[in-house]
Amino acid sequence: MHTKTLAELKTGLTNGEFSSVELTQHFLDRIKNLDSKYNCFISVTEEAALAQARQCDEHLAAGDAPVLCGLPIAHKDIFCTEGIRTSCGSRMLDNFVPPYNAGVVDKIAKAGMVVLGKTNMDEFAMGSSNETSYYGPVKNPWHTDCVPGGSSGGSAAAVAACLSPVATATDTGGSIRQPAALCGITGLKPTYGRVSRWGMIAFASSLDQGGPMARTAEDAAMLLNVMAGLDSRDSTSTEHEVPDYTATLNQGIAGLTIGIPTEYFDEGLNPATEQAVRNALSELEKQGARLKEITLPHSHLSVPAYYVIAPAEASANLSRFDGARYGYRCKDPVDLHDMYMRSRAEAFGDEVKRRILVGAYCLSAGYYDAYYNKAMQVRRLIKNDFESAFSEVDVIAGPTCPNPAFEFGAKGDNPVAMYLEDIYTIAANLAGLPAMSLPCGFVDQKPVGLQLIGQYFDEARMLNISHRYQLATDWHCQSPSDVS
């Protein structure tokens, strides 16, 4: 049952091949038996899931079931869930049980999905390896001595190991696409504002965006259908109409022009990864798409711009964790100042502290223009590069990451080496463009991701291309050894 796609499971439920309770129990059993090996879940909500599944079965029997009724999902532990601990991978929120649901959680509940639990992640979504989680690292199901990527590593590994058919995730600089690539699944970061960020714990507000993780583009489209749309509680949420993302999946791709950025195939790219990506591009060409070399001349500045903008916004967003109203408070503070200083020092991990300090520096008097303003100007140059590229092409394609999954500890304590793993993903966040990753091969038995970057609000086109690619290839059907 667990190797079926979300679409197949929906058919199975509708046809009465199995019940939602059976399906839910099956995934809960898998989590119980296998997750000690991967550490994908911070919380498993067994009782609530089974109760929800029972209700779903009633709706399915009565014929008034909502669109994804009875199908299991896991939420990244960054989305607030009423009555269920939401830790954001941090000691700071280890005891935080939100009194409300995130917008996305509500929408998914309304669609009838059954929540299996909350997935592990880099602390406050800051990381590319899942090594910064307070709850320990997630292991890559393909190679348990390797990282799953981050920050949505728990969601990615859970889908790859078939502990959940789909999962929610978030992407600030690549946190959906990079773990999707490293775990061999399909993950989509929508256009900025497409999916509600209400109740999604903020990291860098001008970059953060939630999106779906799945094994196939079709499943990602089904999930995006229920995640996307206006939420008046999020002031950056957009009124742009939501199409049915599944309706155009099967369209032919003949005649489309796919832009190939020269800068994404530079000397930093692993040659075997490049080969897998080039093979995927050839397949798209075989289906009638035209490949066109393009240039994004400011690409090399995307990582530097990001590491000013994201820390600056994070330092402001994370100032809310003060030990006064919720979250961790240090023992026996002597005064208010001591309470702030020690609560934050004791409850934030090294990477989070580093980014807050960098952000405080970039925003401090005398440095604002040199860093923050400069980074925002470079951000416009990066967006302009994309706009001029999109005057000639329909979609952009390249590698998601320069390398396949690396071993734990491989990046040592050099933060910059880790940051450079996101070199091809960050620009889409800076520009606010939708982008996705889908499996396109293996290097040393480790998955490789093909990245597509679309025009604003053109998620449907990326999903269409991905689906056509997946109809012709079987990389997305491959599973780690103990999934069978």
Partner: protein
């Protein structure tokens, strides 16, 4: 631009994060690595380029200035480290 341990102490104060003696060296070193990375921005010609804050160049949607939230104090206070009579308790601020 690089920073030294005095700067880190000042930043720790600004950000309200205690930096301990045992990790100040490592923190200074790693933050300087990040700053060396971001210094690459200085190579960009940004004359007359308007800063981009919202990637869609969108302005925030406004709502009518009407009360839309009810009081949730009873839901929120159980999450606090210390409360009393509906108030949040913190260490004494004024003698």
């Amino acid at each position: 631009m690089s920073i030294d341990r005095t700067d880190i102490e000042k930043l720790g104060e600004l950000a309200r994060i205690a930096v301990t003696e045992e990790n100040i060296e490592a923190t200074t070193r790693s933050i300087n690595e990040v700053l060396a990375l971001v210094d690459q921005l200085q190579s960009a010609n940004t004359a007359n380029v308007k800063p981009l804050a919202n990637p869609l160049d969108a302005t925030q949607r406004l709502r009518h200035d009407q009360i839309s939230e009810s009081n949730h104090r009873d839901d929120f206070q159980p999450l606090a480290p210390a409360t009393e009579n509906g108030l949040y308790l913190v260490p004494k601020v004024i003698d």
